[in-house]
């Protein structure tokens, strides 16, 4: 991939990169049906979800946000993550030119459904290096148990 001249004044190069990113997101999507609350491609913050036998793990890629200002709410099986990313790019003036603005700035909200067997008392959220990790443990009754044969 060729390097990009930093002095190129945004415009078509930025647009082509945005299109290629969206194509990558589109063709990379899993083939299965998306949840009804699934966002359009390119939503901020991107989310990955995984499961272990004892929990559901949600990874929210939200760099540069203040965790104290992010709300994580679990209500009736829907996990909602909302907050705001403050705009840290200065305003363009005659002394300052802004060449590229691809990062998301402003309020965001993502909502996902979680399995019914989540133990609402045992939800842990940690924020590290821009990734908000939400660990939703399943209730003890819902965890798989090995049954030994006597």
């Amino acid at each position: 991939m060729y390097g990009t001249s930093m002095n190129f004044p945004g415009g078509i190069v930025g647009e082509l990169e945005r299109v290629s990113r969206e194509l990558e997101a589109l063709f990379g999507q899993p083939g299965s049906a998306q949840g009804i609350r699934a966002s359009a491609t390119g939503a901020f913050p991107p989310i990955n979800i995984g499961t272990t036998p004892s929990s559901t793990e949600v990874f929210v890629f939200a760099p540069g946000v203040d965790p104290a200002k992010v709300d994580v709410v679990l209500d009736k099986g829907v996990l909602t993550i909302s907050g705001e990313r403050v705009d840290d790019v200065p305003v363009e003036t005659e002394k300052l030119s802004v060449f590229r603005r691809q990062r998301f700035h402003g309020k965001f909200r993502r909502a996902i459904t979680v399995p019914e067997d989540v133990d609402a008392e045992q939800v842990k959220a940690t924020y590290r290096d821009g990734v908000l990790t939400i660990s939703l443990k399943r209730t003890a009754a819902a965890q798989p148990k090995r049954i030994s044969i006597v």
């Binding site: 760099p63 540069g64 030119s97 060449f99 691809q102």
Partner: protein, 123 residues
């Protein structure tokens, strides 16, 4: 249950995501902000080769060993981007700060390239 780091595979042909960036320029240099959530200073590499600046970072978030992915919008745990630096930039004095997954690079302009007001002397 022990945790493991995401595998870090070397090689510039390894798939990587182009991080979203903001770039702005003032009289003394260029500032670049890149979203690289999951990267920490140990997993970030900055290289200057000739006129090219390359940033490469891996997502260092620890994952449970028995984690099975069921939905992924971030499909590759690696970021990479290469920039061509124009000659008035001082690539030897790049300042880099990585905090909460945001990389801020400050690339100053060479002293002789900074705008100078030229005094007009009356002859």
């Amino acid at each position: 249950m022990s945790d493991k780091q995401l595998a870090t595979v070397a090689g510039s042909d390894t798939p990587a995501i182009q991080p979203r960036i903001d770039v702005f320029e003032d009289a003394t240099g260029i500032t670049l902000l890149a979203d690289v959530p999951g990267a920490n200073p140990e997993s970030l590499e900055l290289k200057v080769e000739g006129n090219n600046l390359t940033l490469e970072a891996t997502v260092a978030t620890t994952l449970p060993n028995d984690l099975e992915s069921i939905y992924a919008e971030v499909r590759v745990p690696r970021y990479r981007h290469t920039f061509e630096l124009s000659r008035e930039l001082d690539a030897e004095h790049i300042d880099a700060v990585l905090k909460d997954g945001v990389l801020k690079l400050r690339i100053p302009k060479l002293a002789h390239a900074q705008p100078k007001r030229i005094a007009i002397q009356l002859g």
